[in-house]
């Protein structure tokens, strides 16, 4: 009888504790719903590095605008020279639908590019479209598996397992900074549950209420390839005309 009493006290206590701590889904939802800027204009520098340490640098002018049910993005290549003014446009709908176009100046044609899954890598980087976009919390089951302080940041550790068994990841583990609701570190495990790659937040910038992750690094641990994405000259919430995200603007390129 004494034992039973003891156990019930433990149960009650832990219930209290869980009540104070958000669960995995809540943490991911808070992160997903973190306020973002309505528009964003920036220079994006992508540094791709292969296992031999050879680097390639791409410089891109990027415009993003949130239209509510759809987020539109326009990316115009500045460098390297032979792809200058190649333009990439992406419309990302809340229901998961994506429309993408590319303009190749040498071909003088706009082409629709579709990819059958979100597991394609973005522009030869180590980020898939899925990694870059906001994955809706309902696509995975989330579980809080611990808490940890890394580099002075108090983090929740959340394990997320995709509901879709064909997803390229068997699971991801995310360290989310408490209060800020931004991912500080994320581990990706491939379909065979082997460690595939790791995402690190290098730098973030806080604007009024809005946090922009301005430098992130993804390293593929299986092939040694890595990508740094760095945003500079950030301008947020500046008015960007709706017609910025049209085929006509894609063709215009940078003046």
């Amino acid at each position: 009888m004494k034992n039973l009493k003891f156990i019930s006290i433990i149960l009650i206590l832990s219930g209290v504790l869980f009540g104070q701590t958000p669960n995995g889904l809540e943490i991911i939802e808070k992160t997903y719903n973190r306020p973002t800027s309505k528009t964003l204009e920036a220079n994006l520098t992508m540094v791709l590095e292969n296992a031999r340490g050879v680097q390639r640098v791409r410089e891109i002018k990027q415009f993003t605008k949130d239209f509510g049910e759809v987020e539109k993005k326009l990316m115009i290549f500045r460098k390297p020279k032979d792809v200058k003014n190649t333009t990439f446009m992406n419309w990302s709908f809340d229901d998961g639908r994506e429309d993408q176009w590319i303009y190749l100046p040498a071909l003088k044609k706009i082409k629709r590019i579709s990819s059958d899954s979100d597991s394609d890598y973005f522009m030869g980087s180590d980020f898939t479209y899925d990694d870059l976009g906001d994955r809706h919390p309902s696509e995975d089951t989330h579980r809080l598996i611990g808490e940890e302080t890394i580099d002075g940041n108090d983090c929740y550790i959340v394990e997320s397992i995709p509901l879709d068994e064909e997803n390229m990841y068997s699971k991801t583990v995310t360290w989310i900074i408490k209060d800020k609701w931004i991912g500080y570190k994320k581990e990706f495990y491939d379909e065979d549950e082997e460690f595939l790659k790791q995402l690190n937040l290098v730098k973030y910038e806080e604007f009024d209420k809005v946090i922009v992750l301005s430098e992130v690094k993804m390293k593929n641990e299986q092939n040694g390839h890595s990508t740094i994405m760095r945003l500079s000259d950030l301008v947020i919430n500046k008015t960007i005309a709706d017609n910025m995200f049209t085929e006509r603007m894609m063709k215009r390129g940078l003046r």
């Binding site: 394609d120 890598y121 522009m123």
Partner: protein
């Protein structure tokens, strides 16, 4: 020397005990430390410039040998079950520890670049196995994609391949078995084939030694039987054979002791020791036999002392010259061959020591062999007749020799080494049939990588260069034995076509470098960029052009290289350097190195032997005369290969070393005995027939024993072992005939060892 000899003869049991202890010691070394080196990569001279380049390129473009699993359905692979199997095999291979996930290619993993009305799409052919109604669409997509049709699915749609590329150092017997078992587990109704160069090498590593294990006891048995026949004594046979066996144990024991692994070529060491080692014993016992016939009833100590007195010199001479011949292999650039030369030399000297110690001790301990007294006169009659006939038919002998040499010189120009692994198997063996089957259905199981390189980053986005590369691909593919090629050009052509509404007219390299760059960016955006880094490097300064060839035969590979070479100058004019990489090319270089090394060592050892014999017999004339059988054997031995178009292999090429070992033995024994006979005051003709009776007889015995033994290998099921048997027998035969005919004539002609001549020079 004398006191040592007496001590040995006084304590035969002690001597045998010491030998036994040494042998047990070496045997323990083999058991404890001996290890077989099965990794063929370890044989390669990795500091050779061609290898350095190839290794670097292999690293850069992730060039590896592939295991090919082919799955054949009697009607079509486009059914849910077979597609499921393709997926399952792919996944099973990806899960193996020896294989990196990204290194497995099949229809399941392949990228499908397709045109849509709106643009371009790169996607998988299938992830979940398509349902029946979607099969036709899949079929059409494959058929319309040159990058997959005929590469991963055969043109007739009955065969699909799954290719697993593996690192050089992961291949083990267990892995080999796991792959074979994996294939078998997916059989029915489909047939599953396993091929590819790692599998061929693996099968060879399994089959060759297994066959040797079966054949060697028979070889030994035959040699023992024939030895019994010629020595007519069980005891003599036993000790002659023990010399060979113990010297082999010592040699391998020493290798284990100093930490040198047993390479495939090292298995040739006992072969050499059998051919060379029995000679010492035969000459010893033959001398003893003649002595006993002439002096019946002699006490054993006297007989043994006479045997040692008469024979120690030629035995030491032959062994030292043979050892020097093998040591000259140190000039080779291939480690295992250097070790082979060094340790065979040790084995030869060990056999010499054992002959000089163990055989006399054996006689002292177990008494003289019982010999029938009659027959000696008969033998010497044969020798007399032969000598007389030889000396009266000088012209004919020279004519025949000259004719043979001329044909041989012509034949030698056609000698080639075949680096092919497949050609080592019977044409009706499973492995060859599988290879033929896959070659018939697909581009080819052998690969040549052409590496193009420039100084300027981004150069391989330029249309003029890419167009030339494309032309080279077409031109080389026109060769019947070249099935397909693959390069950056194929990506660009495919994308150009797809971006222009699948119009076949655009299946070309775009004439605009910027468009190439933009296509490549586009591919990186929508495909799996890792695929690109197998055909180009990160900054487009280098290109890897892959040719699939339907044979790994050296002649075929050389034909392909010749065709590729015609593009060296046009490419150079554009600032592009052309090189090669990959295991097939390295094997070719490797065999050339071996042949080159053999010839170099043959020439070098010939020079050394001429001077050594000159020094031993105190006249350079003896050196020149004595090395003649080597020259004849080498010429005719190689000539026969050329005339009958029999290619050498990496191991059989080493057999030219045996011509030195054996040729010199015969010559020295004959010359030494002839000199003694001349010094004893015999006239030239008499000295020839006496020597013929003494040494000639032993030489015949020696040749008969070894030829009989090695002829057994002709019954082997493994062609390289058959070639080995034939070549050793052939070399023995030529050496012995050459020594007893042409060399004898040269001795007479040069008036060698004329006692009246001695003061002059």
């Amino acid at each position: 020397m004398k006191t040592l000899r007496d001590k040995i003869l006084d304590h035969p049991y002690l001597v045998m005990a010491v030998i036994l202890i040494i042998t047990i010691f070496f045997f323990k070394q083999i058991k404890d430390k001996g290890r077989m080196e099965t990794d063929l990569d370890k044989y390669m001279p990795h500091n050779h410039p061609a290898f350095v380049y190839s290794d670097a390129a292999e690293e850069m473009f992730d060039i590896k040998d592939g295991i090919i699993i082919a799955i054949e359905h009697p009607e079509s692979v486009y059914n849910p079950e077979t597609l499921q199997k393709i997926k399952d095999i792919t996944k099973a291979l990806q899960k193996m520890d020896e294989i990196h996930k990204a290194d497995v290619t099949s229809l399941y993993t392949a990228d499908n670049i397709i045109g849509t009305e709106a643009g371009m799409d790169v996607k998988a052919f299938y992830k979940r196995v398509p349902k029946a109604e979607k099969l036709a669409a899949l079929r059409q997509e494959v058929a319309g994609n040159d990058m997959v049709a005929g590469r991963l699915i055969s043109e007739d749609e009955t065969v699909a391949v799954i290719i697993a590329r593996i690192d050089d150092d992961v291949f083990t017997q267990d892995f080999y078995k796991a792959i074979i078992d994996l294939g078998v587990s997916f059989e029915g109704p489909e047939k599953v084939y396993v091929a590819g160069s790692p599998i061929v090498e693996g099968t060879m590593a399994l089959l060759g030694p297994a066959d040797m294990k079966r054949m060697v006891p028979v070889v030994i048995l035959v040699i023992i039987l024939v030895l019994l026949g010629v020595l007519k004594s069980f005891k003599s046979t036993l000790f002659t054979f023990l010399v060979v066996a113990i010297s082999s144990v010592w040699t391998f024991g020493l290798m284990a002791l100093v930490g040198v692994p047993t390479y495939a070529v090292s298995t040739m060491i006992p072969v050499m020791l059998i051919a060379i080692g029995v000679a010492d014993g035969i000459h010893f016992y033959s001398h003893l036999g003649i002595f006993l016939k002439k002096n019946p009833g002699t006490e054993k100590l006297v007989a043994v002392k006479d045997m040692l007195h008469g024979m120690w010199k030629p035995i030491v001479m032959t062994s030292v010259t043979t050892a020097v011949g093998f040591i000259s292999l140190l000039t080779s650039q291939v480690y295992p061959i250097e070790y082979f030369g060094l340790f065979t030399a040790f084995g030869v000297l060990a056999a010499m020591l054992l002959t000089l110690v163990l055989i006399p001790a054996g006689i002292m301990a177990f008494n003289l062999p019982k010999l029938s007294v009659k027959g000696a006169a008969h033998n010497s009659a044969v020798a007399d007749k032969f000598s007389a006939a030889l000396l009266s038919q000088k012209k004919l002998t020279w004519l025949v020799t000259l004719a043979l040499v001329m044909v041989s010189v012509w034949g030698i120009n056609k000698v080639w080494i075949n680096s092919s692994f497949l050609d080592k198997f019977e044409s009706d063996s499973d492995i060859v049939q599988t290879d033929t089957f896959i070659n018939a259905k697909f581009g080819g199981t052998s690969t040549i990588n052409v590496i193009l390189e420039t100084e300027v980053a981004g150069k391989f986005k330029h249309s003029d260069i890419l167009t030339l590369v494309d032309k080279m691909q077409d031109d080389v593919e026109a060769l019947a034995m070249v099935g397909s090629s693959f390069a950056l050009t194929d990506y660009l052509k495919r994308m150009n076509m797809v971006m222009n509404a699948d119009d076949e007219a655009f299946n070309t390299i775009p004439d605009n470098a910027e468009l190439n760059a933009q296509y490549l960016l586009l591919y990186e955006m929508s495909g799996d960029p890792e695929n690109l880094w197998r055909v180009t490097d990160y900054d487009y300064r280098r290109l890897n052009v892959t040719f699939q060839v339907k044979s790994d035969n050296s002649k075929v590979i050389n034909d392909v290289l010749d065709r590729i070479e015609t593009y060296r100058t046009p490419l150079a004019e554009m600032g592009v350097e052309l090189n090669y990489a990959g295991s097939g090319y390295k094997a070719l270089i490797f065999t050339d190195l071996i042949l080159e090394g053999q010839i170099r060592s043959l020439v070098l050892s010939l020079v050394i032997i001429v001077s050594l014999l000159g020094y031993m017999f105190k006249t350079i004339k003896a050196g020149l005369v004595g090395s003649f059988p080597i020259v004849i054997t080498a010429l005719i031995g190689f000539g026969v290969l050329g005339v009958f178009n029999i290619p050498l292999s990496t191991t059989t090429a080493l057999l030219s070393s045996i011509t030195i070992g054996i040729g010199i033995d015969y010559a020295v024994h004959f010359l030494d005995r002839y000199r003694l006979n001349r010094q004893a005051g015999l006239a030239m003709e008499k000295a020839v027939s006496e020597t013929m009776d003494h040494s000639g007889r032993a030489i015949v015995f020696n040749a008969v024993v070894v030829i009989a033994g090695f002829m057994v290998l002709l019954a082997s099921v493994f062609p390289p072992n058959r070639a080995l048997g034939a070549l050793v027998s052939l070399n023995m035969f030529i050496s012995f005939v050459g020594t007893l005919t042409v060399m004898v004539l040269l001795v007479v002609k040069s008036d060698l060892f004329n006692p009246n001549d001695r003061g002059v020079k």
